[in-house]
Amino acid sequence: MIKKFYIAIAAAIVLAIAFPGGAAADSEYLKGLEGKELPKMTVPSVDKVVLPNGMTCFIKEDRSLPIIQIQVTIKTGSIYEPADKLGLASITGSAVRSAGAGELSPEDLDLLIDSMGAELSSSIGTESGSVYLAILSEDMEKGVGLLSDLLFKPRFDKGRVAIARHKLAESLRRDKDEPNLFASILFSQLVYGKNSPWARRPDPDLLTSIGEEDIKNFHASYFVPSNMILAAAGDFKTRDLVEQLKKYFPKESGKKVEFPNVPELKPSFLPDLRVVKGPKTQTFIRMGHLGVKRHNPDWYSIYLLSQVLGSSGFKSRLVEEIRVKRGMAYSVSGGISQATDYGLFTVKMSTSADNAYAAINLAKEQIKKLSKHGEISDEELDLAKRSLLASSIFELDGSFKIVSDRARFMFYGYPSNYWIKAYEGIARVSKDDVEDAASKYLHPDGIKILMLGPTEE
């Protein structure tokens, strides 16, 4: 394993902690080492350029290595699929890359990309699509040309479209093989409803109704310059990149995109339990209810609430109670997410099957306790706030990270200095705010539970 030297090979490596990365003891040993003021976050400079075709570009020169990364985000997604063509967005997303482009047949395109040691990929998710290019800067112009061909001149070769279709069918069938993924899919269907645009899944046996014409039309409806945001960082002169973008990308902004109406969710909080038979000895548990919409004014309080409950590792309540104190689960976490039309409040756990109900009860207890006023200690809020604020500089530790953040801010309607806004927002939150958020956004009597494990209902 010399190659792939910086990528962990899945099963060969065992991590200590299965969740993402949460008061002070005055240890003599570390005295004086915590006093120094932490480096401050300053808004990085990014060139914002709007091309004549209407595409907004966030660009950052970084000459430290001979590499370039470019990502184009497109407003499209599976929420816009007609109900009888589920899977259309996903197939289109993969066929953009795999089914030839411009002058190149699919095979020639594959060969060209590999010969440059480049990575070029495309996909369409629930509410956005993207095409991503990583390439050595020597090949920049070829890369920009290819990127344009993929975005605007995909060939949708018939044979490759068929392959994209059966690859999707196969991967849908294989969802069940990953209990963590499958439990999350089932849980989101339990909360949003099986037919909700935010949770529905294509039937692997019905994808054949999706033909090249459908794909071409879907692509043509959304892949227009004015509906795209570009983020680029690396070893180039901004001026040169912009010139190449002007040269290879379409001159016209394209027709105005009309988005199909997506029915709005009507939030309700009714308890439910679904038990699904699956894995042999473990039960994969998901419990919770709807979360919040993006731009919720209480978001920072909600975010800190999540940290306290189960999103900040060892010091959060769920992890302490279920893993640290009782050793009941390796993997346990929880928190509230935001999304365009409601995110989710989810507690995720996997436990040995005989511990499942005990773990659920412990989690319920913690949710209930938090949702009642006045239970948060100064220490736990202080730790949650401090660790978020102190690590905020990591938001800006890479040029491509910075420009893709800017693109995301624009895509979801956040201000261009959202890093700072979020920092200040977190800093302002008080204990009362978090307690208010807990009673407002946690509904202990409306918890839906999904259990994927050895036993059936």
Binding site: A12, I17, L65, G117, R173, P279, K315, A390, I393
Partner: protein, 492 residues
């Protein structure tokens, strides 16, 4: 097509230009050798005011003895539980309680291993352990290691164990270098085995999620058993459930005494730090630990099985793995295997992906792993294929065999090898773009292959691989008779 032809001609020029960039790495790495044998590698990378730090140990699953699989990983979990100085309010008060728990654990283990274990007695012991843990909790600051790093801005704190090595790491704001170094030193040099038996349950649950409830994890373990009769590479890093459930504090203590010695460690710092200051801190924090004898490590992965064919049923979609025994560094054939892996599986134009996924439409995907389950000892090249529904495994096997036959008989073209070289270079360039990936690459090469410089020379070694090398090596190691096949079929 025109673009394409022009491009191939240009590859060679570009290659040499970048080669300079990669070898530049040698000048950027500052090596510090402490008197006690511990080595440090420091690289200054300006940019964000942060650094990545790691302490990597040349110890992993391969150092475990039979009956104690999973111990290296169990130990890694314990390192987060603090030291005599961290994680405790009053270690002097806590210590006798820990001693009791340790003794009880041994007693329990003895009972478990006796001919007729007395369940009542074991339950009683468990209860005592639980009570002593509760009492000890009075003196503890739970997860203080984690908390200190978090409140000082750690971006990622984690650790991992593989067959070859164990790594503890974090990314921190740059003016927390000494703080991180001190916490890391406590973790590796002075661990206190708190809450051992609770954590053992956590690890048991981790095993459940990696194997019996995870078709690919289960398959990975079966590949190892199909490939080795015995030896350190026959078992997975997580270890067997039976072994995990019988690990004791004394096991962990002995493991620590033997393997966690300065000469068996390499430290890494990559980021926006001053080299002089970093050297000073390292000397101050790590220089005081005494030199201790280096542990012995096994020299062989185990006795090879050849030509094994195994089939097992699982409640999941089917999968096929084909494995070949192969050498590792310093054997130069390792570079040839990296080239072979690239030719077969890197990118959509690679031979196996093109054939199986696109031309013959037999599989959803293929991935190849050169160096499973580790690279310190001779190991396996694994081709792992997910067939499309209804495609018989025979068809997959013969399609793969056709491609391997081409490898054995027809020399790779200049274009093929040029592509591999460029892919390797691009991969290295992108790895250099990140403190963590650069740090882990240096640390891994040093811990696994004994010298980080192998990384700097790597592109050159890959370019030196000839079409004849590929033919020779594939004929020697990738024969149909010797290949190991593990097939997973759907049970439901």
């Amino acid at each position: 097509m025109r673009i394409f032809l022009r491009f191939i001609a240009a590859v060679f020029i570009i290659f040499f230009a970048f080669s300079a960039e990669a070898s530049n790495l040698s000048q950027r790495v500052h090596e510090v050798q402490l008197k006690n044998g511990m080595k440090w590698l420091i690289v200054r990378r300006t940019g964000a005011p942060v650094f990545f730090g790691a302490v990597i140990l040349r110890v992993g699953g391969l150092n475990e003895t039979p009956g104690k699989t999973g111990l290296a990983h169990m130990f890694e979990h314990m390192a987060f539980k603090g030291s005599t100085r961290l994680g405790t309010k009053d270690y002097d008060q806590e210590k006798p309680l820990l001693r009791m728990i340790e003794d009880l654990g041994e007693l329990r283990e003895e009972e478990e291993r006796s001919k007729k274990p007395d369940r009542m007695k074991i339950e009683q012991i468990d209860l005592w352990i639980k009570n002593f843990e509760k009492e000890a909790d009075e003196y503890r600051l739970k997860n203080e290691v984690w908390e200190i790093l978090m409140r000082n801005g750690a971006n990622e704190i984690n650790a991992f164990t593989s067959k070859d090595m164990t790594a503890y790491y974090a990314s921190m704001p740059k003016n927390r270098l000494e703080l991180w170094a001190r916490v890391a030193a406590e973790m590796v040099f002075d661990p206190v085995f708190r809450e051992f038996y609770i954590e053992r349950d956590v690890v048991a649950d981790e095993r459940r999620s990696l194997t019996e409830n995870n078709p690919n994890g289960e398959m990975a373990e079966r590949i190892l058993r199909a490939a080795y009769k015995d030896g350190p590479y026959r078992s997975s890093t997580i270890g067997s459930m039976e072994d995990i459930e019988n690990l004791t504090i004394a096991d962990a203590r002995e493991f620590h005494r033997r393997y966690y010695v300065p000469g068996n460690m390499v430290g890494i710092i990559v980021g926006d730090v001053s080299i002089t200051n970093a050297k000073k801190i390292i000397q101050k924090v790590f220089g005081g630990y005494e030199r201790r004898p280096l542990p012995e490590a096994p020299l062989h992965s185990g006795e090879w099985k050849r030509g094994t064919y195994e089939r097992f049923a699982f409640n999941s979609e089917p999968s096929i793995a084909i494995a070949y025994h192969k050498p590792t560094l310093p054997d130069k054939d390792e570079y040839v295997f990296d080239v072979i892996t690239s030719l077969l599986c890197e990118g959509r134009s690679s031979r196996l992906e093109k054939k199986l996924v696109y031309d013959e439409k037999l599989a959803r995907g293929i991935s190849c792993s050169n160096g499973y389950p580790g690279s310190r000892l001779d190991n396996l090249l694994i081709l792992w294929i997910e067939p499309l529904t209804g495609v018989p495994s025979k068809k997959i096997l013969s399609a793969v065999e056709e491609e391997i036959e081409i490898l054995r008989t027809s020399p790779a073209s200049a274009g093929d090898l040029a592509r591999v070289r460029k892919q390797v270079l691009a991969e290295i360039m992108f790895a250099l773009d990140d403190n963590r990936s650069l740090g882990m690459a240096l640390g891994r090469f040093d811990a696994v292959f004994g010298d980080w410089r192998i990384l700097a020379d790597y592109p050159e070694m890959i370019s030196a691989v000839t079409p004849e090398d590929v033919i020779k090596v594939s004929n020697k190691f990738m024969t149909k008779d010797d290949r190991i096949v593990v097939e997973r079929v759907k049970s439901r």
